[in-house]
Symmetry: C2
Subunit: 254 residues, 2 copies
DNA sequence: ATTGCTCTGTTCGATACCGTACACACTACT
DNA sequence: AGTAGTGTGTACGGTATCGAACAGAGCAAT
């Protein structure tokens, strides 16, 4: 299913795409396709062979591990700062994680073949992908440690901040049940933690819609993990020029 | 400090080095240096700029995160199946993790410059490094999930198996205190878990020396995390030819 | 208005792990 | 033999999280 829309969306809204040298942009952009991602859709399952990579624009994708028991835990988040499908260029073709749309929106899709062709032509893109991958590794590592040492309250704050950074405003569409899956805890645990934040006036939520009212306080209440990851990511991937141009284009459903 | 020893050690005992094409071996091996690693030594601190990568032969290196509070947790282990210092070729130059020698032994050191030079000359080495990095990512992810969902008992089993795979025999030199640091739990927790394994006749240990008596049982008692990581690693990095040749060579202390 | 469904709030006992404290055992050194 | 130091065993209360069960509240469709 395709339709042409007049959007305010451009590949440049993805940080990785926006910092590429102009010549690489010129070669690559004709081949990227705009894809619409719906909340809860599964982008790929653990073990799937990947054919495309996705550069989120205003969507958020959650990488999560599912255990034999069915219990799950999010190991990292990807928004417009990153790319989904690193296994494709890392050479493994698949991963043992599942990718789920955590926040609906758009992403640009690129065929894996185009990507790897570009790798051989010019090292810039590869270098960028690798630095991004390293920042992802940082996030995963910090998650591992955070799971071990920090309370649900702290982790919820961390998680909200991670989401906030990848959204255009302060509203996230997300039930407590889903957050619980991401954090790998019971839904009741999230209810309790969210209740505290509500009482403190930090957030406001109603049936699957959360609004962050006081970001600063959220940062105070969060564990160090958020800041550590942010700092390291900024080091690895300095922000590029963030001016955008808009145009009409095709949209495809995932 | 240097001395020439007659060892039974060769670069081929490291799996990554051993699967390289002959031409790459010929270019690279003249530049690798044998390094002796002592138990407990810190290979690099979080944030250190890396100048070398290390290919362990019979040593084990633990990558661990240290939090502001001083609490720590191991996020992955590297033995002769891998390489320490991926940040160097990922482009980040440093990581937020610390690398500690978990089991004394030898490793081959290669200047980062030599490594990246080889990347430009021939894609084989890069591809291998990237696939290894992906297997490392798998390990980190699984660790994150394991920290969330599994008991200390299960995790101790997993940890012992990870160590066992990287050692020549069934003996590991390791106090409960150190294991506790790796797992990010209290020493008493390890004492208790180890006590159970002792009673079951699975392990035998005395003041910092652990002998695994029944590996099969250990695998049964472990959580799935060990098997998942092993399977994925085998997929990403098929074993090469493991015949070795021996010769005299220099040894350097770290 | 009724019904049904999803999302949230609350309770209760169970349990895994923590923090603290201390006793004991083995080893090495004097 | 005595002493110091390191590694291990155990005990106790405190707490965060779990598992299960259920009640209510908001929303949608009929």
């Amino acid at each position: 299913m395709q339709k042409i829309i007049d959007t305010k969306i451009t590949p440049l809204q993805n940080h990785l795409l926006s910092v590429l040298p102009d010549e690489v942009k010129e070669r690559l952009f004709p081949f990227v396709e705009l894809v619409k991602l719906e909340l809860g859709e599964v982008m790929y399952e653990a073990g799937d062979t990947l054919a495309n990579v996705y550069f989120p624009v205003d969507s958020i994708v959650s990488l999560l591990y599912v255990m034999e028991s069915g219990a799950s835990a999010e190991i990292s988040v990807v928004g417009n700062e990153g790319v989904v499908g690193i296994a494709l260029f890392m050479g493994g073709e698949s991963t043992s994680s599942r990718a789920v749309i955590q926040s609906a929106g758009y992403a640009y899709r690129l065929k894996g073949k185009r990507l790897t062709e570009e790798f051989h032509r010019h090292g810039k893109l590869l270098g960028l992908m690798l630095r991004y991958t390293q920042s992802l590794i940082t996030q995963m590592s910090q998650t591992a440690v955070c799971n071990r040492h920090h309370t649900i309250d702290q982790q919820l704050c961390r998680w909200l901040l991670l989401s906030l950074d990848r959204l255009p405003d302060n509203n996230l569409t997300m039930t407590q049940e889903l957050i619980a899956n991401m954090l790998g805890v019971r839904r009741e645990g999230v209810t309790e933690a969210a209740g505290k934040l509500q009482k403190l006036g930090v957030i406001d939520y109603h049936r699957g819609h959360i609004t962050v009212l006081n970001r600063q306080k959220l940062e105070q209440l969060s564990c160090e993990c958020y800041a550590v990851v942010k700092k390291e990511t900024d080091r690895l991937l300095p922000h590029g020029n963030e001016k955008f141009y808009y145009h009409s284009q095709n949209v495809i459903n995932l």
